[in-house]
């Protein structure tokens, strides 16, 4: 395996890690505020469809992006209503949202485009194009002639869509918001001990809705990336469990932004390797591709089992806040 092949796999890891990362950070905001969200998958899927549909109809990828984020935020609001206002079961609400998105996207796609539940192929102007950074080459033939540093710059760092760069910038931003701003302090507090927040004269409901909406926006970006950057259009169930992997990455990262980046890159890498090789041979043993695909999930179970140190979720997570003396 030559250096350029390794770079190509890493490059594809970054592309595949991006939707995971955005969804993972989305979940981070929600769960840090005490609202469990297993509906990341559904929100991503809804955003993927609406961004593709609107990008196709309007011809503008930005209109698509807004529509996708809008759809995701709408579902977030629904989750908020169920789990904050009506103090319902957050897990059940999340499950419902996943099915709602899985069903509605296909139903609406069929009505609008009559192509068996998919959107038409997006023309390049309705997609997020790849940005070639200054001084970078873009074709394989040219890159192959560069030195190692040049290859890293051109193949790995350059040539991604704007959403990839945004996603990576959101990591430090998330860290900064969470640990350096008043909003972040209150957000973390409301996920740990809402009673403390309440007695301090801050609205628990307000903080939690804010977190849930941010979660919706980030999931919207993740979905839009799937349909308008990674792929060229929407197909049924295209989120393909990425919402759950993001959730897994979140637990793996123990709800911390930088670790979330690492976890998502790792899971993206597994995905990239699984895509590139059917079977991996390690000495005598052949590791089947299905094992590579299942690896993220297996890792999560191991993490949850406490074998890699205990993952302690925000303490008030999953519990509706009921005011008491």
């Amino acid at each position: 395996m030559d250096f350029l092949t390794v770079l190509q796999i890493l490059d594809s890891s970054i592309r595949l890690a991006t939707p995971l990362l955005l969804a993972c950070l989305a979940g981070l905001f929600s769960e840090r505020a005490g609202i469990f969200d297993i509906g990341l998958e559904g929100k991503m899927l809804a955003a993927a469809f609406f961004s593709a549909a609107f990008a196709f109809t309007s011809g503008s990828v930005w209109v698509g992006l807004f529509a996708g984020v809008g759809a995701s935020v709408f579902l977030s609001g629904l989750h908020g209503a169920a789990s904050i206002t009506f103090r319902g079961n957050q897990l059940i609400s999340g499950v419902a949202i996943n099915f709602l998105a899985a069903g509605l996207t296909v139903v609406i796609a069929q009505t609008w485009f009559s192509q068996g539940g998919r959107t038409p192929q997006l023309p390049s102007e309705a997609r997020f194009g790849n940005i070639v950074l200054p001084g970078a080459e873009s074709t394989i033939r040219e890159i192959a002639q560069l030195g190692p540093l040049g290859q890293i710059y051109s193949e790995l760092i350059s040539g991604h869509s704007i959403l990839v760069y945004i996603a990576f910038l959101i990591v430090p931003l998330t860290w900064w918001v969470l640990f350096r701003t008043r909003f972040g302090l209150r957000l973390r507090a409301v996920g740990e001990n809402p009673a403390a927040v309440d007695t301090a004269g801050i609205s628990v409901v307000g903080m939690r809705y804010a977190a849930v909406i941010i979660c919706g926006v980030l999931c919207g970006l993740a979905g839009a990336y799937l349909a308008t950057a990674l792929n060229a259009g929407f197909v049924k169930d295209m989120s393909a469990g990425r919402g759950y992997i993001a959730l897994a990455a979140l637990i793996f990262a123990k709800w911390r932004p930088w670790y979330a980046l690492m976890a998502c890159l790792l899971f993206g890498f597994f995905d990239a390797v699984g895509n590139r090789f059917q079977n991996i041979t390690v000495g005598e043993i052949v590791v089947p591709v299905q094992f590579m695909q299942a690896l993220p999930y297996i890792l999560v179970v191991i993490v949850l089992a406490g074998l890699v140190g205990r993952a302690i979720p925000p303490r008030a997570g999953g519990e509706p806040y009921v005011k008491e003396r």
């Binding site: 640990f179 701003t181 008043r182 302090l185 001990n193 403390a196 927040v197 309440d198 003396r325």
Partner: protein, 514 residues
């Protein structure tokens, strides 16, 4: 400065459904004083303070702060009015640092760093001013309970609270920590702060307060200067002239030792809750355990009842040592040994609230052959048994099909009592048998306990109600901080002496000093 009282309440009333928690309460607290509020559990102290802190809205009445009529619809309004409250259960974010907890909700601006820098300076000043030393960067969960409480106080001072309400602040503190707290409160008073101290410990009232109000059953019965009263007088005002339930009681005829506990120890959540408890109960006698809630009585009952494991010590039942490690025993093996258990909390432990009465009749005894028919439970037999028990124990309404939550507190307790006592267990563990129970049911339950004693059963009674302990027990042991402080005979002691033992004071005999 005006002479107006720091706090003045006029005619405060508050009802929760049919329960009148506060009845027409008026109270006035002078600036720069420490004012105590005493009363039994459920007397309405906490409700009153929650109204002052904006957690509840009073049905009627007015609040004046520094002479100004003040509306307090929420906690924020209370904070604005300069009122701070240290709750019995701290409202701290456990994995935040001290300084983060202090600024939460009182930040300056959207960025944290300036707020934290300022808070660090202010905290330094405050800790020097009031002798409240705490490391601003310590994580709350690493701090002792006493230090956590300091953080709560600092939090209020940081918000410029002039009036500080402390709800049962010493309930979770060791005596040494409590003393430190009192020194801090004295400093605060010197600096002109007004403090309201809610407690049911008379020793604290006498030690630290300037004035004291007594609450009983939602009413404020008296307000006096502390210097002009005595613990005995306060106790009398707290308990009131209520009709003493005279239980007809013959002298006990103690037999063999049925239950023997030696050096029993329990560590729970890293805290030693039982620190070597030894006691014994004979057949035909009632051993009463007196004490302030949270001094290990709960753990004592739970270990004996098989709910939690002990970390040390032995328990002997009729000369036979039983397993207390929890490895080979649980609630059911205890019942099989003839140990009945009326738990302290009938709603969380003794009953499954959504279960119907008949299902609760079998709870814990559901493997009893008489309730079973081979593989299946004999529901008809359980229902018949329930109907029978309901009649004999006067449960109203006598409807086995009604869910437990639909019975009144007294009738719920009768369902538990019927279940645990009707089998005539050799040993009966009883926790808070009459908490939240109406007077008629109290009388009935007391008679049943005595009847069992007269049948030659050994009874261990835990109660925070001194009356109940005094009225029923043949011997009284007092628990404090996980230890038995001493044992007294009811005929040779009084409430004052027991009260002092409950506060951990052993050396003085109050009878002689007063």
């Amino acid at each position: 400065m005006t002479d107006a009282a720091a706090i003045e309440l006029r005619g405060i009333s508050k009802a929760f459904g049919p329960v009148q928690a506060n009845k027409d309460i008026s109270m006035s607290v002078k600036r720069g004083t420490i004012h105590g509020i005493v009363g039994e559990n459920g007397a309405g102290k906490s409700t009153l303070m929650s109204i002052l802190y904006g957690f509840y809205k009073a049905d009627r009445g007015e609040i004046f702060i520094n002479g100004q009529k003040t509306e307090i619809p929420d906690s924020q309004a209370a904070i604005r009015a300069g009122i701070g409250m240290v709750h019995q259960h701290f409202k701290l974010v456990e994995n935040f640092t001290v300084v983060e907890n202090v600024i939460l909700g009182a930040e300056d601006g959207a960025m944290l760093n300036p707020s934290i820098a300022k808070a660090r300076r202010t905290l330094k000043e405050l800790s020097e001013e009031y002798g409240l030393k705490v490391d601003p960067d310590a994580i709350i969960e690493d701090l002792s309970v006493g230090h956590q409480q300091r953080v709560e106080i600092l939090k209020q001072l940081y918000r410029h609270a002039d009036i500080l309400i402390l709800d049962e602040p010493t309930g979770v503190l060791t005596p040494a920590e409590a003393d430190q707290l009192f020194r801090i409160l004295e400093r605060l008073r010197e600096e002109g702060k007004t403090i309201v101290l809610i407690t049911h410990k008379l020793r604290e009232i006498m030690e630290i307060t300037d004035t004291v109000s007594v609450m009983r059953r939602g009413e404020m019965t008296n307000t006096v200067a502390t210097a002009s009263t005595s613990p005995a007088e306060l106790a009398e005002m707290m308990v009131g002239r209520k009709v003493l339930l005279r239980v007809e009681k013959s002298p006990a005829k103690p037999g063999d030792v049925m239950l023997k506990v030696d050096d029993l120890r329990v560590v729970r959540d890293g805290v030693e809750r039982l620190k070597g408890v030894s006691l014994h109960v004979r057949a035909g006698e009632i051993l009463g355990i007196a004490g302030v809630a949270g001094n290990g009585q709960t753990e004592l009952l739970e270990v004996l009842g098989g709910m939690i494991p002990a970390t040390g010590g032995t328990v002997t039942v009729r000369n036979e040592q039983i397993d207390v490690s929890g490895k080979h025993s649980n609630g059911q093996t205890r019942r099989a040994r003839g140990i009945g258990h009326v738990p302290e909390d009938r709603q969380d432990e003794g009953l499954i609230m959504p279960f119907e009465a008949w299902e609760n009749t079998a709870f814990g005894y559901h493997k009893d052959p008489k309730y079973n028919h081979g593989m299946l439970m004999d529901n008809a037999a359980i229902k018949a048994d329930c109907a029978d028990k309901m009649e004999r124990y006067d449960v109203r309404p006598p409807n086995p099909r009604l869910p437990a939550r639909n019975f009144s507190g007294g009738n719920q307790q009768k369902i538990v009592v019927a279940r645990e006592m009707d089998r005539a267990p050799d040993i009966l563990l009883v926790g808070q048998p009459t908490r939240g129970v109406d007077i008629g049911a109290i009388e009935f339950i007391h008679k049943e306990i005595l009847r069992l004693r007269d049948e030659g059963k050994a009874i261990l009674l835990v109660s925070v109600e001194l009356d109940e302990i005094m009225g029923l027990s043949d011997r009284i042991a007092v628990m404090f901080d996980g230890k038995i402080m001493g044992e007294r005979l009811p005929s040779e002691t009084n409430e004052n002496e027991l009260g002092l033992l409950m506060a951990g004071v052993t050396e003085t005999r109050v009878g002689g000093a007063a």
